[in-house]
C-alpha cells in the first residue's frame, strides 16, 4: 500500500464523521428559524466543544484499549469545583482554573495507578472511582448553584465570539489540538499509546514505555474531562452534581469516539476524529429541536443513534474473515 492510500485508510473514520457532521449541520442550519447566523454557530459550537472535550478525554484511554466510565463524573466534579473556585480577581480566577485542572489530573492519575499497578479491569475500576468522584461532587454541591461573586468575565470571553464572528470556544479547541494533541501524537509516548492499544505484549517487547504510556493516557483523560467540566461552568455560571448528567456525558463520549472512527479495541483513530464525532452527535441531537419534535423523545432518539453508532462501529462480525476468529 502506498503512503497516500495508507493515510486515507487511517483517516477513514475521521473523514466519515466529518461528512456526517457537515451534512447534519447543514440540515440543522438550513432549518433553523434564525437561519445561519454567527449566534446560531456560536451556540452550536459551545455545546459541541463541551462534548468534544469529553470525547477527547475518552479517546486517550480508548486508544490504549481501555475504557473510562468515570469521565462523566470527573466532568461533573470539575463543574461543581469550578462553580466555587472561579471568583474574585483575575489572579484568583487563574488559581481556580489551575485547581480544577489539577483535580482532573489527580482523578486521571488515580485511575491510571489503579489500572496499572492494581492490575484491575478499567471498566470495573472506573465505575467505582466514578462513584467516589460523584460523591465528592455531591459533597461540594449538594444543591445546584454558584458562588455569589462568580467571575463571569473569563466565562463570557471563552463562550463568546472573536471579532463578533468566530466562536471563541471553537478557537480554544483548535488551540488545544495544536498545543496538546499534535505534540502528543508525534511524541514517543503518543506512539507508545497506539502501540499498547494494538498489542501490549508487542509494545513491551519493542521496548516502549508501556506503563508510562498508559499512565499518560489516563492523566490526559482526566485533564480533558476536567476542561469539559470547566467549560460547563463557563456556559452555565453554576455547578450541579447531577448523576444523570454524568452518565449522559460518559455515554455520549463513547458514542462520539466510535462515531469519530476510534476503534474500541485500541490502537486506531485520533482525537480529531473524536472531535468531529462529538460535533456530529450533537448536530444529530439538535435536529430534533429544529424539526419541532416533542423534547420527551430526545433521550430515546439519542439512545437509538448511540446504539446504531456503536453497533456499526464495534461489531466484529463484519470485520473477521474466519468464523473461528470471532471466538478468540
Amino acid at each position: 500500500m502506498n503512503t497516500l492510500a495508507y493515510r486515507l485508510a487511517e483517516q477513514r473514520g475521521m473523514l466519515l464523521a466529518l461528512a456526517i457532521f457537515i451534512a447534519m449541520f447543514a440540515l440543522y442550519a438550513a432549518n433553523h428559524p434564525a437561519g445561519f447566523t454567527p449566534n446560531v454557530v456560536q451556540t452550536a459550537a459551545n455545546k459541541g466543544v463541551l462534548l468534544a472535550l469529553v470525547a477527547m478525554a475518552q479517546t486517550f484511554v480508548v486508544l490504549t484499549a481501555g475504557i473510562d466510565l468515570s469521565v462523566g463524573m470527573i466532568f461533573i466534579l470539575a463543574n461543581c469545583l469550578a462553580s466555587y473556585l472561579l471568583v474574585g480577581t483575575p489572579l484568583t480566577v487563574a488559581f481556580g482554573v489551575g485547581g480544577v485542572l489539577l483535580t482532573g489530573l489527580a482523578c486521571g492519575a488515580l485511575n491510571g495507578l489503579l489500572v496499572i499497578y492494581g492490575r484491575l479491569q478499567p471498566i470495573v475500576i472506573t465505575i467505582a472511582t466514578g462513584a467516589v468522584f460523584f460523591g465528592i461532587a455531591l459533597w461540594i454541591r449538594p444543591y445546584p448553584g454558584s458562588a455569589p461573586d462568580f467571575s463571569a468575565d473569563l466565562a463570557d470571553a471563552l463562550t463568546g465570539k472573536v471579532f463578533g464572528v468566530f466562536p471563541a470556544s471553537l478557537l480554544f479547541l483548535i488551540v488545544l489540538v495544536l498545543l496538546v494533541w499534535v505534540p502528543f501524537r508525534r511524541s514517543v509516548i503518543g506512539r507508545a499509546v497506539y502501540a499498547v492499544g494494538s498489542s501490549e505484549p508487542a509494545a513491551y517487547m519493542s521496548g516502549l514505555p508501556v506503563q508510562r504510556a498508559k499512565f499518560t493516557a489516563y492523566v490526559l483523560s482526566g485533564l480533558f474531562a476536567a476542561m469539559g467540566g470547566l467549560f460547563m461552568t463557563f456556559f452555565t455560571y453554576s455547578g450541579e452534581a447531577s448523576l444523570a448528567n454524568g452518565n449522559t456525558y460518559t455515554l455520549s463520549s463513547i458514542a462520539a469516539v466510535v462515531l469519530g472512527g476510534v476503534s474500541l479495541f485500541g490502537g486506531r483513530g485520533s482525537a480529531i476524529g473524536a472531535i468531529f464525532g462529538a460535533l456530529a452527535f450533537r448536530a444529530i441531537g439538535d435536529l430534533l429541536f429544529v424539526f419541532d419534535f416533542d423534547p420527551l423523545w430526545q433521550p430515546l432518539f439519542q439512545g437509538v443513534v448511540l446504539l446504531l453508532a456503536v453497533s456499526l462501529g464495534a461489531a466484529r462480525l463484519f470485520q473477521v474473515r474466519n468464523r473461528l476468529d470471532l471466538f478468540t
Binding site: L114, Q121, I123, V124, I127, A131, P201, Q302, G303, A315
Partner: protein
C-alpha cells in the same frame, strides 16, 4: 511436560472445604466485622428482627445480582441493569392499570419486558460481537429513552398490583416473602450453574470461549440466554421494588448497578469470567446490604455513602480481584 502428568486429571472441587475459597471466606469475615461494628452503635443490631429486615432489603439486590453474576461468569458485563430494573417496575405497574386481567399478568409482563431487553443485549454481544460493555450501555440509554417517552418525564400514575405488594412486602410464618423469593432464585441459580450443561457451558465460555466453541458448545446461544436471564431477573427485581414501594418511579434502578457488580465481584467471582460461586455472591449481597445499613445508622449523607462505597470496593478489589501479573 511428562506424560504421567496428563494421565491424572486435576481434582474437581468436590469436598466442602475446597469449595470455600479465600474471597468467599474474606467476604464472610467482613460481614462478621460489620455486624460487630454495627452492634457497637446500636444494641438491637444483632436482633433476629433486624437481621431479617436486612435480608429482606438485601433480597432485591440479591435477585438482581444473580442475573449479573451469570453474565459476569461469561466474562461479560451488563450495564443496562439500571433502566431494566425501572422498565420492569414500570411495565408491571402499567399492566395493573388494565383491569383484573392486567393484574394477573402484571408480574409476568414486567419480567418479559426485561427478558426482551436482555435478548437485545445478548444478540448484540453474542452474534454481532459488540463488546457487551458498549452494547449494554447503549441499550440502557434506549431503555431510558423509552421509559421517559412513556411516562412523559414524570413518575407514572399506575401503582403496583396486590400480588406484587404481597410478593415484596408480605410474610409467610414470619419470614418475609422477598427473602423466600431470593432463596428460590438462588436455589435455581445453584442448580443451573452446578448441575446442568448450561451451567458448565457458562463456566467454560468464561474460561476460554474459543475452547468451548471448539468443544461443540453452542456458545452464542448460551451467551444470549444468559443475557436474557439477566435482563429478566433485573426486571423481576424492579417488579419486587415496585411492590415494596407501592409504585414505580423514575431512575429507581440507578442505585443498583454498582452494588450488583460489587456484590458479585466481592463474592469472589472473577470479573474476567469463568470462576465464582453463588455462595460468594450471596455473601457479597449481604456485605453490601449491611454496609449500606451501617452507613445509614451512622447517618452518613448520600455523598459519603458514594465515596465509602467506591472506596470499599476499590480496596477489596485490590485485595483479591487483581489479574495475574502479565508477561
Amino acid at each position: 511436560m511428562t506424560t504421567d502428568k496428563l494421565d491424572t486429571p486435576p481434582a474437581l472441587p468436590n469436598s466442602w472445604t475446597s469449595r470455600i475459597d479465600l474471597p468467599v471466606a474474606t467476604a464472610f469475615g467482613c460481614i462478621l466485622l460489620l455486624l460487630l461494628i454495627g452492634s457497637l452503635y446500636s444494641p438491637n443490631f444483632l436482633s433476629p428482627e433486624y437481621l431479617l429486615q436486612q435480608l429482606k432489603v438485601g433480597a432485591f439486590l440479591g435477585v438482581i445480582a444473580t442475573g449479573m453474576m451469570l453474565v459476569i461468569l461469561l466474562g461479560q458485563i451488563d450495564l443496562s441493569v439500571p433502566w431494566t430494573v425501572t422498565l420492569g417496575a414500570m411495565m408491571a405497574s402499567a399492566a395493573t392499570a388494565y383491569g383484573p386481567m392486567g393484574e394477573v399478568f402484571a408480574i409476568p409482563f414486567g419480567v418479559l419486558c426485561g427478558v426482551l431487553v436482555g435478548l437485545v443485549n445478548g444478540f448484540g454481544t453474542a452474534y454481532l460481537r459488540i463488546p457487551s460493555m458498549i452494547m449494554t450501555l447503549a441499550v440502557n440509554a434506549v431503555a431510558q429513552g423509552l421509559m421517559v417517552a412513556y411516562t412523559g418525564g414524570f413518575a407514572p400514575v399506575d401503582s403496583a398490583s396486590p400480588a406484587m405488594r404481597y410478593l415484596a412486602a408480605g410474610t409467610i410464618l414470619g419470614i418475609p416473602n422477598a427473602v423466600i423469593v431470593w432463596a428460590l432464585t438462588g436455589a435455581v441459580a445453584v442448580f443451573l450453574l452446578g448441575r446442568t450443561t448450561f451451567g458448565r457451558a457458562v463456566y467454560g465460555i468464561g474460561n476460554k470461549e474459543a475452547a468451548a466453541y471448539l468443544s461443540g458448545v453452542p456458545t452464542q446461544r448460551v451467551v444470549m440466554v444468559a443475557f436474557a436471564v439477566c435482563g429478566g431477573l433485573a426486571a423481576f427485581g424492579g417488579v419486587l421494588l415496585a411492590g415494596y414501594a407501592g409504585k414505580a418511579a423514575q431512575s429507581m434502578g440507578d442505585a443498583y448497578l454498582l452494588p450488583a457488580i460489587a456484590a458479585v465481584v466481592l463474592g469472589g467471582t472473577s470479573i474476567l469470567g469463568g470462576r465464582g460461586s453463588y455462595l460468594g455472591t450471596t455473601a457479597g449481597v449481604i456485605l453490601i446490604t449491611l454496609l449500606q445499613s451501617i452507613l445509614s445508622v451512622m447517618q452518613i449523607a448520600e455523598f459519603g455513602r458514594q465515596i465509602i462505597y467506591g472506596g470499599v470496593i476499590i480496596t477489596m478489589l485490590l485485595l483479591y480481584g487483581r489479574e495475574k501479573s502479565g508477561r
